[in-house]
Amino acid sequence: MCALCGVLGGKGHWSDSASAPAAFAGRTEPQTRLRERQARTRLLNLVLKHYGVVVRDWSGSSYLLTSRTGRTAIVETIAEVWSAAEGLSGRSCDPLDEGYLAVLANSAGATQAR
């Protein structure tokens, strides 16, 4: 728990590698929970940009999602991000959608071309 604000630690999730060091033994660069959350938040913003949803890490324990109209939702794990994003955007988040993948591939390819 944070001594200043009284926020409890976030819930665990299988994708949190920092909290499962045995499964990632011998890592060449040590991973911290906050660094991993930072990287995940950055990726979530790239992925959810298409849906007009912005994600912020909230006190290292939750994710704060905001829509273009300013509606917000707070969720605790990455698994809950998707239903919240769908609720805010009114659209289905489908990683197998061809049109969506083309948009994502463009954003990734723009950097690789540099």
Partner: protein
């Protein structure tokens, strides 16, 4: 804190009506290594089970409000396991170190897995070790074609135990074997009559078992290596299984984002997801194992099972295209090098806060996706 591997392992023994589940269980329970297993059976059939830790449960399924059948909680199992856990803690029953659940012939293993991995109390004490499905070599092929329950039991299995081979002159029809591989590229296929002294390994080998995890992970892609996988599919059952490989190391964060999004949208159609992953910055393989919406915590092997260093992901899916899955993961993995999305200032005037603590209605957000 108890690690995931230290939780009491639970095996599910399933199989279509009359496929020999109880006979298999009888043999298993004769192994000294399984003498301390608690056995839960849903029906006392004609084949008697003689075991000191045996309890009957009546199958009942509680469908949660979000309506996905695979995410239903088996109320009977929840009650039985909580009760036995409590009795074990109080010393009223011998300290069982494993639980074996025998399902009915028409049962769907998914709600059992979901109950174990998501129920508020059970998930801190039990873990799913493996699903063993018995297949009758005489009637198996027609059952797969006629009953979707049979096909699903096979698709979700970690082991396929072929029974009644004596009625087929000791032979396993090649058509049946091909059918099984098409439905499940990663399961170990073994004839009941061919299992020797290490019978107990059918239950004890899993990716969290120190002795058995190497054997288990090596089996995952054996079917593919034997040339049976490659996207073969069974039109009747609409289930297909395949192994996809990735040459470049995977970014773990990108994989987590991708997999949770995929399972949120398509979890009901991803019957199994298993992987031996080459994760960037990690010298040894990371193992993942999922059942529909649920993914176990990752495990790892001390060394690669062979010279192949590519990531290998086993998918057993319904109505999902392999090429699209491959492309999707590649695109997400490439995002790691993409420029950060701009985060616009937060709008304050029109903010409506809608706290969403759980995946709608599930009540158990931790284990989903």
């Amino acid at each position: 804190m108890t690690s995931y591997g230290d939780l009491t392992p639970v095996n599910i023994v399933t199989g279509f009506l009359g496929s020999g589940k109880t006979t298999l269980l009888q043999r298993l329970l004769r192994s000294p290594q399984l003498s301390d297993a608690l056995v839960l059976v849903n029906e006392f059939g004609e084949v008697g089970l003689d075991h000191h830790l045996l309890q009957g449960v009546a199958e009942s399924t509680l469908l949660l409000e979000n309506g996905c059948l695979c995410c239903a909680v088996r109320g009977d199992l929840q009650k039985a396991l909580r009760e036995q856990l409590s009795r074990r803690t109080r010393g009223e029953v011998p300290h069982f170190r494993r639980v074996v659940i025998e399902t009915s012939g028409l049962a769907d293993p998914a709600p059992i897995a979901y109950t174990l991995l998501s129920e508020a109390v059970l998930r801190h004490h039990f873990r799913l070790s493996g699903i063993i499905t018995t297949v009758d070599v005489v009637n198996g092929a027609s059952q797969i074609g006629s009953f979707p329950e049979a096909a699903k039991q096979i698709a979700m299995a970690d082991r396929l135990v072929l029974t009644k081979t004596d009625l087929a002159d000791g032979q396993v029809p090649s058509a049946l074997r091909a059918q099984l591989r098409a439905l499940n590229v990663s399961a170990q296929i073994v004839a009941s009559s061919a299992i020797g002294d290490d019978f107990h390994r059918l239950l004890t080998d899993d990716i969290y078992d120190v002795e058995g995890k190497f054997r288990e992970a090596s089996r995952w892609t054996e079917g593919e290596a034997g040339g049976h996988g490659h996207g073969a599919h069974d039109h009747t059952a609409a289930v297909q299984s395949f192994v996809v490989t990735f040459d470049r190391p995977l970014d773990w964060t990108a994989f987590g984002v991708w997999a949770t999004m995929l399972l949120h949208r398509h979890g009901a159609d991803v019957l199994r997801l298993k992987g031996l992953l080459n994760v960037a910055g990690v010298p040894t393989p990371v193992l993942i194992n999922g059942v529909q919406h649920i993914v176990h915590p990752p495990s790892h092997l001390e060394e690669w099972p062979d010279a192949d260093r590519r990531s290998r992901l086993v998918f057993i899916v319904r109505a999902l295209q392999r090429t699209r899955i491959e492309r999707s993961l590649v695109v997400f993995n490439d995002l790691v090098n993409a420029p950060a999305a701009s985060v616009r200032p937060r709008a304050s005037g029109d903010a409506v806060t809608a706290r969403q603590d759980h995946v709608a209605g599930s009540g158990f957000p931790l284990a989903r996706e």
